[in-house]
């Protein structure tokens, strides 16, 4: 291991010269977990890459690889990008965390940006994430108004804080406008598996769920809802990660869009003009990283107006979706009246708020 480091160190010395030569475009690498055609998570990261090319033109050169498995393969792919002269590499899935840090140790002159993780073991590793729970507050509000069966379904991927924040935020805001609302959570243990997501959606519809939220990346739940509607159902969904506009105006009545372009342009720009620093970024609606897609006419005008007012308040920094009083599921106090959750509390969230039935699998 130590010898490897020496070897890699020697190597980076050689490469460093090349990387900082003038006139050379800044080389930006992207490692994607899914196919760029997934219509969700990876698609949006790739849109960010394209926005980068548009912004900087000839001054950047981007490379990417899609469908990279998390684990040993990721480490090889990241290393390969670093060897081939990438100046900054964005690794866009949680599972790349250790691989990103391992490679960063061997290439101290290459900058690494890891999405949704928390490990910054070396000075050249930054992390970035988006406050998706802000978007959840808005669609939770719409869902609370739209449900007639008072059953809202949530297709959840993995029981990690980011997902739990989304469930809590959606439920609290749905319950605020509709106290009778009930949350049906299904864990599918995948980020992208159209078959599983569709099964989960169909099972929920059979149980009487009429509004479905998802924290998975495929459009399969939208298709399942569309199918139910063709057979006389009344089911609504929300686009996730990407706009999923193909399912407008119903079942998709709004969407949470991840827009990574502002962050990518900011970071690569900073690297070019020499102001780049290690960060742990967590942007949301104010930064333009979380965007609510078109709210369709299937939503009554007053509900739409209420949702838009909430978007404006969050964007202006006047409203935080996790503002007390909030009780945990077990009845203990999470936030007192008027208290706002800290980022630390959010980043370690491992409980449901009061009113959600069931347990988080553990």
């Amino acid at each position: 291991m130590r010898l490897t480091n020496l070897l890699a160190g020697a190597l980076t010395l050689g490469l460093a010269g090349a990387a900082f030569a003038q006139d050379e475009p800044t080389k930006v690498g992207f490692v994607y977990v899914g196919p760029i055609g997934d219509g969700g998570w990876t698609f949006q990261h790739n849109e960010g890459r394209l926005a980068l090319e548009e912004e900087f033109g000839d001054r950047v050169e981007t490379i990417y690889q899609e469908s990279v498995p998390e684990g040993a393969d990721a480490e090889r792919v990241i290393t390969q990008m670093a060897l081939q002269g990438a100046d900054i590499i964005f690794t866009t899935s949680f599972g790349y965390m250790d691989a990103t840090n391992n490679v960063a140790e061997k290439f101290p002159n290459v900058m690494f940006e890891h999405a949704t993780g928390y490990k910054r073991d070396h000075p050249n590793v930054s992390t970035y994430d988006a406050r998706f729970y802000e978007g959840r507050a808005v669609i939770g509000t719409i869902a609370g108004h739209m449900t007639e069966t008072n059953k809202i379904g949530y297709i959840a991927s993995f029981p990690i804080p980011e997902v739990i924040q989304g469930i809590n935020s959606s439920y609290m805001h749905a319950a605020k406008v509709n106290p009778d609302v009930e949350m049906v959570v299904t864990w599918v243990y995948t980020w992208f598996d159209p078959a599983k997501e569709a099964d989960a959606a169909r099972a929920m519809i059979d149980q009487g769920v009429d509004v479905i939220l998802q924290h998975t990346d495929s459009t399969a739940p939208q298709a399942a809802a569309a199918e139910a509607n063709e057979n006389g159902g009344r089911v609504f969904t929300f686009g996730q990660a990407s706009d999923m506009a193909a399912f407008k105006p119903v079942p998709r009545i709004a969407s949470i869009i991840d827009d990574w372009s502002p962050y990518y342009i900011k970071r690569v720009g900073a690297l070019m003009d020499g102001t780049y620093e290690q960060t742990a970024s967590w942007g949301g609606m104010p930064e333009g990283e979380v965007v609510i897609g078109e709210i369709t006419d299937a939503v009554p005008a007053e509900v739409k107006a209420e949702a838009e007012a909430m978007i404006a308040a969050i964007t202006a920094g006047e409203y935080h979706p996790f503002t007390g009083p909030i009780m945990k599921q077990d009845g203990t106090v999470f936030l007192a009246e008027g208290e706002v959750a800290t980022d630390g509390q959010l980043a370690t969230m491992d409980f449901y708020v009061q009113g959600i039935e069931g347990e988080i699998p553990n």
Partner: protein, 370 residues
Amino acid sequence: MIALERRPTPSRVWAWASPLVAVALTLVAGGVMFAALGTDPLEAMRTIFWDPLFGEFAFYFRGQLLVKAGPLILIAVGLALGFRAGIWNIGAEGQYIVGALCGAAAGLAFYPAETRLIFPLMVVCGALGGFLWAMIPALLRIRFGTNEILVSLMLVYVAENLLASAAVSWLRNPDAVGFPGSRNLSRWDAASNPELIAGTGAHWGVVAALIAVVFAHILLTRHLMGFHIKLTGAAPRAAAFAGVRPARLVVFCLGLAGALAGMAGLFEVTGPAGQISIDFASGYGFTAIIVAFLGRLNPVGILLAGLLMALTYVGGDAAATNLGLPSAAISAFQGMLLFFLLAVDVLTNFRLRVKRREPRVPQPAPEAAE
């Protein structure tokens, strides 16, 4: 017209020539596909097959070839023994996962002890885990006559769910504030499976793969069990007369393949992968089936086939990044290899004959014939 005619005995020439012809056909068809995608096929082939071995960064990629080939060879050797005897273990992926889980769990039970005895214990537990997982289809087949293809394959999906539950709950790193994934085993000296010689990529799993190749070769050429395996595959009835006990053979072949797959999983989780994570399983168990057939179910052949397969992965990744090829194109390219191999393999048992069109005897209902 061209007809296929069964050979009286399988052709020895074609048995060895067909992988080479299959590789050649894959190159041609893959080249056409790459060209259709707007990539220079020669450049694509150079990136995939030449650069990882002799290019600018070969010093790194050569090691990665061993990292990738190690588990493939280790699993494929075990599978090949069963395949030769007509025992179809399709679930090596599940045995690989369960081996990794058992080994990692055994090691983590002692965290944070610092004794190098932990690693050998983990290897034993990994092999045991894979063995026991393979015993499920083995015992079901012996006791109830179930089909081991279906049972072993279905158990892969069970194993994947075990893996997910381990990553998010019972093996989760307690210091990771709710995030999934176990502790990083490769960063814990007592449990890590490091590179043995820096820069070579060779870890204990690669060593184990080489030992398995030698062991399987000796077993097949010098040992009575090897004879029984080959005999059962070639002539099951004759094997029964020769005193082969089918139940013992099923347990041996599935058990050995399971143990080797379990060890491969353990070496992977303590080395290159580093931790139990939701996406730890990366398809080695399935790819190893291709490797076993590409290597003619022969241990030495498997060694070469494993390295070739690793090359298509490492080179394929490089081509995807550098030439902007979609990852699906690389997968299709790898799939072509198996496709052409199976197609060309027909020539081992059949020969092509160009026949004269025979005069047709008038049929009573000619419309139906068309």
